[in-house]
């Protein structure tokens, strides 16, 4: 019985962990894009 629960727990943990991993990467990506936007805006200011 414990084996079944252990297996379920491990599988769920990994799936959940992967979801968190994806969310984390997406957040990082959004930050990157934001900082890039700022960089571009600054450059446009400087070239005027």
């Amino acid at each position: 019985m414990e084996y079944f629960l252990t297996a379920t727990a491990i599988i769920w943990a990994v799936v959940f962990g992967y979801v968190l991993f994806i969310i984390g990467r997406q957040r990082k990506l959004r930050q990157e894009i934001e900082s890039l936007k700022q960089l571009v805006a600054e450059k446009q200011k400087n070239t005027r």
Binding site: M1, Y3, F4, T6, A7, T8, I10, I11, V14, V15, Y18, I22, R25, Q26, L29, E32, I33, L36, L39, V40, K43
Partner: protein
């Protein structure tokens, strides 16, 4: 962008619903198997994970060929995402197999053809990921990865049919021998569907994530260059 977002959300919803249904199936609906008891329920995880481990490398193979042919980074991102997920699913497949083997046979592992070939698949995934990790630059990683993706796939058919090829105590082609009740078969189908949708969903998200990361990096280089 709007269409993509709603598609993603829809995919997630479908995956979650299927998963809840599968869990209900696995925990409540299916009858307990006579000889092995409750631990047999791991079967409903184990089989989908195995199938997806094999599917994963098949996708790596397909993506590798497409990459070497078309040389578009999208295919490479597809292959590496498929490898990442396939590796995770194969690892879970091995772990779940061990957790089933211990109560069912009394050992964590035996060197039967089925398990041995499964381990080989696991190592082939490692070979693919290793090559990408140790490549001296991105393009080389993609190219070399594709090579491993293609040559490694030669072993996959044998891994897939190893149960029917060699008779052993592995509960192999139970599904086809009619050793399952209709409820069990149905439960298994639901579980396979749930895991497959989850896999495909993860694959799509991961691939697009890699694509976007690549694009953002390229843009950053462009912007920084002008300074």
């Amino acid at each position: 962008m709007k269409g993509k977002e709603s598609f993603k959300t829809a995919g997630l919803v479908v995956a979650l619903l299927l998963f809840m249904w599968a869990l209900y199936m696995i925990f409540i609906f299916v009858p307990t198997e006579a000889t092995m008891g409750i631990s047999q329920r791991i079967f409903y995880f184990h089989v989908p994970l195995a199938w997806l481990g094999l599917l994963g490398y098949t996708l790596v193979f397909f993506g590798s060929i497409m990459y070497l042919w078309k040389r578009r980074s999208g295919w490479d991102n597809f292959s590496s995402s498929a490898a990442e997920l396939g590796f995770i699913f194969t690892t879970l497949f091995l772990i779940s197999g061990s957790l089933w083997a211990k109560p069912a046979w009394g050992v964590w592992w035996t060197w039967t053809p089925r398990l041995t070939t499964a381990l080989i698949l696991w190592f082939i995934y490692i070979a693919y990921l290793t090559v990408r990790f140790y490549a001296s630059e991105k393009q080389q990683g993609a190219r070399f990865g594709a090579v491993v993706g293609i040559v490694g796939f030669v072993d996959v058919p044998i891994i897939a049919i190893s149960t029917s090829l060699w008779r052993s105590e592995h509960p192999g082609a139970l599904v086809f021998q009619g050793g399952l009740t209709p409820e069990m078969t149905f439960g298994l189908m639901v579980s396979i569907a749930a895991f497959t949708v989850l896999f495909v969903y993860f694959l799509a998200i991961r691939t697009s994530l890699k694509q976007q990361e690549m694009e953002v990096e390229r843009l950053r280089e462009l912007v920084e260059q002008d300074q």
